[in-house]
C-alpha cells in the first residue's frame, strides 16, 4: 500500500513536470526504429532458424532443430567456425600484445606521442574494403610492394604465392585485421597507462628493478583489466569479419579463409537457404553472447578498480 502510494506520488511528480509525455516524444523515434529493425528481426530470425524457406515461396515448413543439426554435421560450417576462431584468436592475442608494447613505448616520455598515435590510428578509420583492396595488391607476387620488399630482404614467396597459398592466405587476412585494429588498442592502452601512478615505477626503480621487471611486475598486472577488455572487444568484432575476406580471397583457396560471416551471406543471398542461414546467425549469436558473459563476469568486479 505504501509502495503503491509512493509509485503514485512519483508518477504525479513526473507528470507535473511533464516528464512522461516529453519522454514519450523523445523516445518515440528510437523505440519505433529499434522495434522494427532490431527487436522484431531478432525474434523473426529465431523463428526462421527452425523453418525451411527459400524466401520466395508462400510456404515455410517447420523443421524443428534440423537446421542446427545439419550445421553441426556440416563439414563446411565446422571449417568456417574453425577458420573464424583461428582468425579471431590470432587478431585478439597478437593485436593486443603488440599494441601493449607500442603503447608502453609511447608512454615512456618520448617526444611526438601525438603524431605517432595519429599515424597508428590511420588504419582504424580507413574503409575495410579499401584496405582489403590495397593489401590484396600489396601481396601480389612480382609487383605488389610487400612482395617486392620481402624479396629484397631475401625472402622468396611461398609456392603457391601468398593469397593463393592455403597456409598463407589466412595469415595475411589476420595481418590486415591486426594492422587495422592496432591503433584502437593503442589509444585505449595509452589512456590506461596514464592512470598508473608514477610513484610505483619510481619505487621499483629505487629497489633496482630494470625495464623488463617494471613492465612485467607493474605494468602488466595493473593494466590487465584493460587487456581483458581489449581481448574481448577484439574477439567480438573479429568474429563478425566479412568485408576483408569478401574482397581479398572470397573464402579461398580451398575454403581456408571461409569465415562464418561469408558462409552466412552466401547461404542466405546466393543459395536462399534462409532457415540454415538464420540458424548460423544464432550459433554466432550464442558464441558472441558467451564471450560477452565472460566480459560481464570480469567487469562487474572491475568498477571499483583502476
Amino acid at each position: 500500500m505504501t509502495a503503491m502510494a509512493r509509485v503514485r506520488a512519483g508518477w504525479q511528480h513526473a507528470n507535473r513536470r511533464g516528464d512522461v509525455s516529453a519522454a514519450a516524444m523523445a523516445l518515440a523515434p528510437a523505440v519505433i526504429l529499434f522495434a522494427i529493425f532490431n527487436i522484431y528481426p531478432l525474434i523473426y530470425s529465431g523463428y526462421l532458424s527452425v523453418m525451411e524457406w527459400d524466401g520466395f515461396s508462400p510456404d515455410k515448413s517447420y523443421v524443428g532443430l534440423d537446421n542446427y543439426r545439419a550445421l553441426y554435421e556440416s563439414a563446411t560450417f565446422r571449417n568456417a567456425l574453425s577458420v573464424t576462431l583461428k582468425y579471431t584468436l590470432s587478431v585478439a592475442v597478437l593485436g593486443v600484445a603488440v599494441s601493449l608494447v607500442i603503447a608502453v613505448l609511447l608512454n615512456s616520455g618520448v617526444r611526438g606521442q601525438n603524431i605517432y598515435r595519429l599515424v597508428y590510428f590511420l588504419p582504424v578509420v580507413t574503409s575495410t574494403v579499401a584496405a582489403a583492396v590495397v593489401w590484396r595488391y600489396l601481396m601480389t607476387p612480382g609487383t605488389g610492394y610487400a612482395d617486392v620488399f620481402l624479396r629484397d630482404l631475401g625472402i622468396t614467396p611461398p609456392n603457391p604465392t601468398w593469397l593463393r597459398n592455403p597456409t598463407w592466405a589466412l595469415r595475411i587476412v589476420m595481418l590486415v585485421g591486426i594492422w587495422k585494429r592496432l591503433g584502437f588498442n593503442i589509444v585505449i592502452y595509452l589512456a590506461g597507462l596514464q592512470n598508473i601512478p608514477k610513484e610505483f615505477y619510481e619505487a621499483a626503480t629505487v629497489d633496482g628493478a630494470g625495464i623488463w621487471a617494471r613492465f612485467r611486475h607493474i605494468t602488466v598486472p595493473l593494466i590487465s583489466p584493460i587487456t581483458l577488455l581489449l581481448v574481448i572487444m577484439s574477439i567480438i568484432d573479429s568474429f563478425l569479419i566479412f568485408d576483408v575476406v569478401y574482397v581479398m580471397t572470397d573464402g579461398g583457396p580451398i575454403g581456408t579463409t571461409e569465415v562464418v560471416g561469408l558462409l552466412l551471406y552466401r547461404e542466405a543471398f546466393r543459395y536462399f537457404n534462409l532457415g540454415t542461414a538464420s540458424a548460423m546467425g544464432w550459433v554466432i549469436f550464442a558464441l558472441v553472447f558467451a564471450i560477452t558473459l565472460v566480459q560481464w563476469k570480469f567487469f562487474g568486479t572491475r568498477e571499483a578498480g583502476l
Partner: protein, 289 residues
C-alpha cells in the same frame, strides 16, 4: 641478479654523462619502424594512383614522383564514381543527421527525464548492442523488401538513424551538464523538450561532434548492409562500387588505386579534422569498461 643491477645502473650513469638518450633513440627507432608499417599501404596506394601505367613496376614505390592525375579522371570515367559518391554522401548525411537528432533525443530522456520503465527500456537498448548484425541481417532485409525499399535511400538510411551506441555516448555527455541549467530554464517556463533544444543541445557541441564523427566513419565505410539492400548499379555506395570496380578493372592497377584513394579520402579528412575528439572518446571507452 645484483651484478645485473650494478651493470645496469653503471650503464645508466654513464649514459647520463654523455647526454645521448640512447633509450629514447631506440624507442623512436622501434616506433618509426612500426609507423612505417602502418603507412606503407597508404603511401603505396597514393604513389601507384599517380603513376603512368608504364612505371608501375619501377621504384620509387612509396613516394609519388609522377603526378598522373588522368588516372583519377579515367577511373571516374570507367565507373560512375560520381554517382557512388552522391549515394554515399546522401546515405552518410542521412545517418549522421538521424543519429545526431534521434540518438540525442533518446539520450536526453534517459539522462534527464523521470518516467516509468526507464531502467528496463535502457536495458533493452543495452541488450541490442550484444546482438551481432549477422543475426538480424536476413529479417531486416525481408522487412526492407516488404516495405518496397530495396534500392532506395530509405533502406540505406532509415534502419541506422539511431543507435544504442549513440544513445549511450550522448547520455554520458548529458550527465556532465549541470542540472541547474535545466532548472533555471524550467523556472522561466521552458518545456522539457524546449530545454533539450535550447539549453542542452547548444552545450553539447563536442559530444555531438564525436557522435557525428563516429556515425560518419561507420556510414561511409559500411559495406555489408548496402551490399544486401541494393542491386541497382545506380544505388551503389563508394565502398560497393570499389569492390565491384576491383572485380572488373582488377588488372588496371593505377585506376584501381585512384578509385581506392577516392574511397578513402573522406574518412581520412574527417578524422584528421576531428581526431582530438575522436581519439579522446575512444580512450574513454577503456576507462568506462
Amino acid at each position: 641478479m645484483s651484478a645485473v643491477t650494478t651493470s645496469q645502473s653503471s650503464q645508466r650513469s654513464m649514459l647520463r654523462r654523455i647526454h645521448i638518450p640512447w633509450g629514447h633513440l631506440l624507442i623512436h627507432a622501434i616506433l618509426i619502424a612500426g609507423a612505417f608499417a602502418m603507412v606503407i599501404p597508404f603511401l603505396w596506394m597514393l604513389t601507384l594512383s599517380l603513376k603512368p601505367v608504364s612505371l608501375i613496376h619501377q621504384a620509387p614505390y612509396l613516394i609519388p614522383t609522377t603526378f598522373e592525375l588522368s588516372n583519377y579522371a579515367k577511373a571516374w570515367d570507367a565507373a560512375p564514381f560520381a554517382r557512388y559518391y552522391l549515394n554515399s554522401a546522401l546515405m552518410t548525411g542521412g545517418i549522421v543527421a538521424g543519429q545526431v537528432i534521434f540518438s540525442s533525443l533518446a539520450a536526453y530522456a534517459f539522462a534527464r527525464l523521470q518516467f516509468p520503465g526507464k531502467e528496463l527500456l535502457f536495458l533493452v537498448f543495452l541488450g541490442t548492442m550484444m546482438v551481432p548484425f549477422h543475426v538480424i541481417l536476413i529479417p531486416s532485409y525481408l522487412i526492407i523488401d516488404r516495405l518496397g525499399w530495396v534500392d532506395s535511400y530509405a533502406a540505406l538510411i532509415v534502419p541506422r538513424m539511431v543507435s544504442a551506441f549513440g544513445i549511450f555516448l550522448m547520455r554520458q555527455y548529458y550527465q556532465g551538464i549541470p542540472k541547474e541549467l535545466d532548472e533555471a530554464a524550467m523556472i522561466d517556463g521552458a518545456g522539457r523538450l524546449g530545454i533539450w533544444w535550447r539549453i542542452i543541445m547548444p552545450l553539447s557541441g563536442p559530444g555531438l561532434a564525436t557522435l557525428g564523427i563516429f556515425a560518419f566513419m561507420f556510414a561511409w565505410n559500411d559495406f555489408l548492409w548496402p551490399l544486401v539492400v541494393t542491386n541497382d548499379p545506380n544505388m551503389r555506395t563508394v565502398q560497393l562500387g570499389l569492390a565491384m570496380f576491383q572485380g572488373r578493372y582488377g588488372t588496371q592497377w593505377t585506376l584501381l588505386m585512384a578509385g581506392t584513394v577516392t574511397a578513402t579520402l573522406p574518412t581520412l579528412l574527417i578524422f584528421l579534422i576531428g581526431q582530438r575528439w575522436f581519439i579522446q572518446s575512444i580512450a574513454q571507452t577503456g576507462m568506462k569498461g
